[in-house]
């Protein structure tokens, strides 16, 4: 029975990490689908979410909920500023320049975080305390429930947004054909900005809900961003279930690998999977193969 409960533990933590990767990957997909750009700084917004919340909680002594709301708002603003200052002026620059600039911007955000908050790791207290629940011999922390709950809510909300709201449908139109979308009166520039706003909002929220379980420091963004990227690559850049599956799959493989093969190489597992997918099936496991275009 012990093996079974250990397995369940791995699965549980794998799924909860996976949910986070899915949310981060989701952010990549939203921006990519609206603009064709990979937002290299996505991970930094995840970091900002956690760091800002801790800052508001500990330094400004705000209660938890306002702290969370405020840090999501600020991260969203940061995302919009990023789009305005770093992305928009360069839409027509050559691809290499765009990549270097997005890398530079993400490094800048990381550097700013290091200046402001130093190199220490910080902890965010769990939302509803630390009393674990025992199910099937495994320990489920309340925070795990928060993670699953918030992730499911965000997925449902995005489904509704993209399929039933005017803005959401407009964004989808932009991703299929920006020129046609512009011709029917959709403000493509606003849609781009909206995609960055959504992306950083969701990213920062992901950073906040995982923070109580993993420590936050100025450089968590790199790893998380890369793992989120891996999730969305597995998911074929989809803004929907594909990325969710990708994230969960990644989280599971990582957790099981760490548990049964080697714990110290845990991070390497995600990146090896990333490389394998990019080499062998870059369109992802859950995406559709693109046909050659004229």
């Amino acid at each position: 029975m012990d093996k079974f409960s250990q397995l369940f533990q791995y699965i549980l933590s794998g799924l909860s990490n996976g949910a986070i990767y899915a949310l981060i990957g989701f952010g990549f997909a939203v921006i990519y689908n609206a603009t064709g750009i990979i937002n290299f700084a996505q991970g930094e917004f995840v970091m900002l979410g956690g760091m800002l919340t801790i800052f508001f909680l500990n330094v400004l002594k705000l209660p938890l909920v306002p702290a969370i709301i405020l840090s999501v708002i600020i991260s969203t603003i940061a995302g919009v500023l990023f789009e305005r200052l770093a992305i928009r002026p360069l839409k027509d620059a050559n691809p290499l320049s765009l990549i270097i600039i997005t890398i530079g911007a993400s490094i800048f955000i990381r550097g700013a975080a290091m200046l402001i908050w130093g190199k220490d790791t910080h902890a965010l207290p769990a939302f509803s305390g630390d009393n674990p629940l025992y199910i099937a011999g495994a320990t489920i922390l309340p925070q795990h429930l928060w993670i699953f709950g918030v992730t499911i809510l965000i997925i449902i909300a995005s489904r509704i947004f993209f399929n039933y709201s005017v803005a959401g449908k407009a964004m989808r139109a932009c991703s299929y054909n920006p020129r046609a979308a512009g011709l029917v009166g959709i403000n493509v520039k606003n849609m781009v900005m909206l995609s960055f706003a959504l992306s950083s909002a969701i990213g920062s929220l992901a950073g906040i809900i995982i923070a109580p379980l993993t420590m936050v420091s100025y450089d968590v963004g790199v790893m998380l961003g890369l793992k989120g990227f891996c999730a969305v690559i597995i998911g074929g850049m989809s803004s929907g279930m594909g990325t969710v599956m990708g994230g969960l799959l990644l989280g599971l493989l990582e957790s099981l690998g760490a548990g049964f093969i080697s714990a110290s190489y845990k991070d390497a597992i995600a990146f090896i999977i990333l490389l394998l997918i990019l080499f062998i099936r870059p369109e992802g496991l859950f995406g559709k193969k693109e046909t050659e275009r004229f």
Binding site: T291, E292, R293, F294
Partner: protein
């Protein structure tokens, strides 16, 4: 020289080319014409290895080149120019032509880095030959200008000279007259004749009917992905199907 056999290309749900077959005679100037969307550039892309055909074969001088990679074709004597002039914009005019001589040279990383005697000799050869080609094209006084700064017509000329530097047996030109004024087009016609006279087979995709009828020995007409007609300029001009599909609605 160049033979296409049953070329069909399907993109997802769209059939861009259907069972296109024709042959290009060695030493001729052949035009490929047709309304927009007829599949002309797709055909070029297939012949030059940028696309792979769904079915069918391409033969170059009897050799089956259907599945060769693009980079293998220059060495076999097949080059092309592009509709929107693919120059190496950041390199000089001279350097552009020097790249054209890539298949006529062999120095690898080692001999280039260590400046082995063979490489030094070869570099001299490349330089001299490139200057010759610039003279041929009338661009010799622009050798050190950055290619991206050239006026459009000169840019076309450069792309053609770069292609010729590879010493091809056949050159495919995709809408070489596009964007040229009438004087430049007349010069282009002259250039095409000089190229053919030097023994190179020329195939053009073109919309400029005057140019096509003027220089081409043979014409192939495509419409909606299928070959509509094939013949001499006079035959094509008198072909009722061609007239109704294309020339008539001009």
């Amino acid at each position: 020289m160049l033979r296409l056999n049953g070329i069909t290309k399907v993109f997802g749900g769209l059939t861009a080319l259907e069972d296109v077959s024709f042959a290009v005679a060695e030493g001729s100037i052949t035009g490929v014409i047709g309304p927009n969307g007829a599949g002309k550039t797709t055909l070029f892309n297939i012949v030059t290895g940028l696309y792979t055909q769904t079915t069918g074969e391409v033969y170059l001088g009897g050799k089956n080149i259907s599945f060769l990679n693009t980079e293998e074709l220059a060495g076999l004597g097949l080059v092309r120019t592009f509709q929107n002039v693919e120059l190496f914009r950041k390199m000089t005019v001279l350097e552009n032509v020097m790249v054209g001589l890539h298949t006529k040279s062999r120095s690898g990383i080692f001999s280039c880095a260590f400046k082995l005697p063979g490489q030094i000799k070869e570099e001299k050869f490349i330089r001299e030959k490139s200057l010759e080609w610039l003279k041929f094209a009338g661009l010799a006084d622009m050798a050190d200008i950055t290619a991206g700064n050239l006026p459009f017509g000169k840019g076309r000329l450069l792309e053609i000279s770069r292609a010729l530097a590879a010493g091809p047996k056949i050159i495919l030109m995709d809408e070489p007259a596009a964007g040229l004024n009438s004087r430049e087009t007349a010069e282009l016609a002259l250039l095409i004749r000089r190229i053919q006279a030097s023994g190179v087979t020329v195939v053009l995709v073109e919309h400029d009917m005057d140019l096509v009828m003027d220089v081409c020995h043979a014409i192939v007409v495509l419409n909606l992905g299928k070959k509509l007609a094939e013949g001499t300029p006079r035959q094509i001009q008198e072909n009722p199907a061609v007239i109704s599909a294309y020339l008539g609605s001009d």
